[in-house]
Symmetry: C2
Subunit: 329 residues, 2 copies
DNA sequence: TTGTGTTGCGGAACCGGTTCCGCAACATTT
DNA sequence: AAATGTTGCGGAACCGGTTCCGCAACACAA
């Protein structure tokens, strides 16, 4: 079953290759030849060779997606959304994983460009000058999700605002002595914006806040929970920067026999679906990962058509008030 | 920054294109020319155009990966493993999502072949004649993960054996009245093998078993849990076909005020990492998704080199005895 | 009828590599 | 010294498309 080529089609229809090509790309073709080509192509199941096309056009129907990890809830959901939309529109998603190494993000920007992807969607963690340099150099539309920068089209979660809103609820409910469990500032959205949003709300209510740091991994949060369990004192609430961290902290607390929310409250951030199903269910803020993925694909397709799209777009968020945080008053 | 071509290199070095090509592909090249080309290529950062290469060779350095869903724990972990290994070896992973539609699996087999991927790793759910036909037709190595078939190289989880082993533990602990919450038989490994493994163990101990069916979605398992809560009777254990189902069932039970494992026991299957961290932690069997992904990549690379690999390879499993299942005796 | 504009189509060059073939230069054997 | 074998290299064709250019055929206006 060898490849049918445009030459074969041309011969079968008794025309020149160029005519077939024109037919395929909507050029001027007479009625009779059109009908003939219609038939021949249908009968032969002809499909153009993508390499030959790309060789000439220096373009593909692929969108590169750079993700920091393949096994994060946020990344998976976002990829689903991207893929859905792209597939509808005849594009393909080429996922590359950087295993959380910033260096590899930069490499991959160049690499994807070399592969002539039509555009790149980048689930970022941090934006450095080297990133910007790469984006500048490759001359391909890049769309950043989850972080923001003035020089790059970005689709960003309102981390600061959401954290602030949730923080306000907490103080409204009477929490005044709080531990915040965050991550490294290297991740701007999660490490800085979320923290700062919470801090703002808490400070406005003159709450006492202790900040501790951990990683994105569940395992690392467990000892944090265990430690906190021993020094609860007057602390009424532990705010976690992500739902995974909340999960770990909850486990750590449980290991020490602390009951949530009776002994202490715990909140998450992100809205992973297991948070609803846990017992106690976790108070958190839901970020629309999947919809954002789909939206990013839409925006990318717009960019590819040369339409302009706003440099910065914010997504929505939704507070999920559930069982793990108690109302003290 | 336009593309440097082989022609540029040839001119700069004062040789013919063919010589450059030979140099690049390890053909016979004299010492002097070699040195000259060494230099020129380094200085120009020359990188061969992959489309031109693929156009001629009808091959790429990509491995297609067909997954039923992008947001499943098993798929994510497996993809990580695949990607890790492939990247090391200079290959790329091209993920395509079928959104659980069997039809799209078949489509994608053809489609990936059209894109001249070097091989296809297929995280299967069911194997039909049309699949086999496609695999036969495309003439590309296909490696099946998670399901098995005599005509396709498969890397399979010992679902039956693992289920049997876990079932034996349960009966050993005195469970004799059990509900099994499974999924559709369309998924052979999960819908049939796991169930049958458990059933065998349970029947050997003359246990009473009721089988109920749900889907892979957490939400769908919640009402199942709620219903079971109302009709516990003498049932001492609910065995769930996946950890996600267990999660849903646990939620349903909790909604009705049933406490696990005090009032009833619940087990999962799969070993998703949250199972360890939940409270109570879930008794389950751990399947090495990530390692299996890596292994599948290895095997695929072997196949590509023409080495032969066994048609069927089983992975290991590991029982995780934890809190959610009680020992009655 | 002649001149002008439009439309349809074929030929050839091109995209950037790989590979086959044959020749020249040199080394080796007799 | 002649015959034979190796090795290094250039030229040309090829992979399967796209696009530019120019020509022929036809329609229509003058």
């Amino acid at each position: 079953m060898k490849q049918v080529t445009i030459k074969d089609i041309a011969e079968l229809a008794g025309v020149a290759k160029s005519t077939v090509s024109r037919y395929l790309n909507g050029g001027s073709v007479g009625k009779k030849t059109r009908e003939k080509l219609d038939r021949v192509i249908r009968e032969t199941n002809y499909e153009p060779n993508q390499f030959a096309q790309s060789l000439k056009s220096k373009q593909t129907k692929m969108i590169g997606v750079i993700v920091p990890r393949l096994d994060s809830y946020a990344a998976s959901r976002t990829m689903m959304g991207i893929d859905e939309r792209l597939t509808e529109r005849g594009y393909q998603m080429l996922v590359v994983n950087t295993a959380q190494q910033t260096e590899r993000e930069i490499e991959q920007l160049y690499n994807l460009a070399k592969q002539k992807v039509a555009g790149i969607i980048w689930l970022g963690t941090t934006v450095t000058d080297r990133h910007l340099e790469a984006i500048e150099a490759i001359q391909i539309p890049v769309l950043l999700i989850g972080q923001q920068h003035d020089n790059v089209h970005s689709l960003v979660y309102p981390d600061y605002e959401a954290a602030y809103a949730l923080g306000r609820e907490f103080t409204k409910w009477g929490h005044r002595d709080v531990v915040y469990v965050g991550v490294s500032e290297a991740d701007i959205a999660v490490g800085q914006d979320r923290r700062d949003g919470f801090l703002k709300a808490l400070h406005e209510a003159d709450a006492r806040v202790t900040v501790v740091q951990t990683t994105f991994k569940i395992e690392d949060a467990i000892p944090v929970g265990e430690r906190l369990a021993k020094e609860i004192g007057s602390t009424s609430l532990i705010i976690c920067a992500t739902d995974n961290i909340a999960l770990g902290v909850l486990k750590g607390l449980a290991n020490q026999g602390i009951s949530v929310p009776n002994d202490i409250s715990v909140s998450g951030f992100g809205g992973y679906d297991f948070t609803e199903v846990l017992h106690p269910s976790i108070t958190t803020v839901h970020l629309p990962y999947r919809r954002t993925g789909a939206k990013s694909a839409d925006m990318m397709l717009q960019l590819l058509q040369g339409n302009d799209v706003p440099m910065k777009t914010f997504t929505i968020f939704e507070l999920k008030v559930r069982e793990s945080v108690d109302k003290l008053n």
